[in-house]
Symmetry: C2
Amino acid sequence: MSIKIGILGYGNLSRGVESAILQNTDMELVAVFTRRSPENIKTKSGVPVFTVSELENYKDKIDVLVLGGGSATDLPTQTPEYVKYFNVVDSFDTHAKIPEHFENVNKAAKEAGKVGIISVGWDPGMFSLLRMISTSVLPEGKNYTFWGKGVSQGHSDAIRRIKGVKDARQYTIPVEEAVNRVRKGENPELSTRDKHVRECFVVVEEGTDKSAIESEIINMPNYFSDYNTTVHFISEEEMARDHKGLPHGGFVLRSGVTGFNKENKHIVEYSLKLDSNPEFTGSVIAAYARAAYRLSKEGVSGCKTVFDVAPAYLSPISDEELRRTML
Amino acid sequence: MSIKIGILGYGNLSRGVESAILQNTDMELVAVFTRRSPENIKTKSGVPVFTVSELENYKDKIDVLVLGGGSATDLPTQTPEYVKYFNVVDSFDTHAKIPEHFENVNKAAKEAGKVGIISVGWDPGMFSLLRMISTSVLPEGKNYTFWGKGVSQGHSDAIRRIKGVKDARQYTIPVEEAVNRVRKGENPELSTRDKHVRECFVVVEEGTDKSAIESEIINMPNYFSDYNTTVHFISEEEMARDHKGLPHGGFVLRSGVTGFNKENKHIVEYSLKLDSNPEFTGSVIAAYARAAYRLSKEGVSGCKTVFDVAPAYLSPISDEELRRTML
């Protein structure tokens, strides 16, 4: 009997979840639910699309509902709401608001006897797991997180909001020298500017003052002013040809010491090189949807994060087989 | 109230656990127990050493007993025996015999109401965890494990058993070209010889036929015959000066694809660079000793592996704080 999944929303991330479910033979995508007009959406896998109000009829037909919405406005209300009726998984990624989100989801999930796993993906998600485990193993040390090379959607959107900009793609790139200093165990103090550079590809409307736009990007507070930023103006054709993917990735490093005199250095590094950020994130979500289903079957309820889920719950392989083949 | 730890044995690994406990302020090393004469052992941290028969008097004074013995002869009997009286952690690393060891420990642990966490360290251990999680996230792909550069104690011992050899140190070295092919997502088929080379540093007795020894090493079945092996003859002084450490490390990579047409590649890489193999292994064991203690407090019993332990149990930091600072 397969695990029945529903997805709320049908953006990039939801399609990533959809394609991930096709790779997991113990799962089945039942339907996609949308706040838009269902008749305008055709899913890649051919599963039906329903309006969100239909969800109430699926309480007994879906084991886990994946919430594909955004962290700014969708998930803060959706996750606590839908965990009243379904086991849910979300990818809430506003790090500063995770404690509040956790409390809201936990309260609703406990009351309903459901499981809600929040902040699933790679950061938060896999990167968090690695930071946490490495810190537990090497209590004396420093953590470093580098992102990229990859497309930052938030930064791309920020550029698109500038008057005269038709399209934009922003790549976050880790500074290799900084990464290598960490890898060597130098434990450097690194400023924001030391760790990443930002490279922007921008299509502007004809007749626009490019140098004014370049200056507006480079000096944009929060997004760019703390970084070394380069701006390239390109044509719409070049944008379509060279920048259609959503690659991403990054590194989590822990540099620690052990020994009676702290004489031995250790470097733990976890890195991701992802051709498709939403598809990898969707793949992580699919594995945690399996965990949500199993935890719920065992009578567990409440809000969980990647820290709370024993890794074996992620795998379709039996415990015996895991020990025999992967330990 | 700190977690009270005992250690059985006082070899390299046990000293690694001892130094790790000093870095974990929520833990306290109560005593070391030995099958040798306790009066001949002085611990680095000054904790007392008792003969192993004293252990029965420590049933209520130790929360977790770490078993520092070897996988060949010690642990197969020690872990099922001592889990009758203590929560235990071992580093059993004979991969092929893990299922049998698990069953033995599980039966004894369930009967006694204790927790036994087996095969803790980095391989098995952290590497297993990464293989398993990455495989769950990317079901379609290949796993690669490379070891080194590092000292293989088993291979060093094998050389030392050759007549005329006074001392030896064997380094396992991953073939960089092979690692890079995997990193590029080529998914190569790699033979044993393709993945690692073996470099040996050997001190021989005066008047020994070096070329005969070199040939005996290079052609030794199981240990060397399937590898490209180089042998360097060095003096005792060089051995003491250049090869006294026990560094190790390696890489676990998963190369997978996602997408409706499997068009997107993803590379997940976990790497360790360890100045001291036993101290890092001891540090992993200390974190899992914390988990054993907590699981036991919650009423859990039986045999566990790294797959079965939710990561939060490894950390001394509260769940709230973990979510706030590391998620």
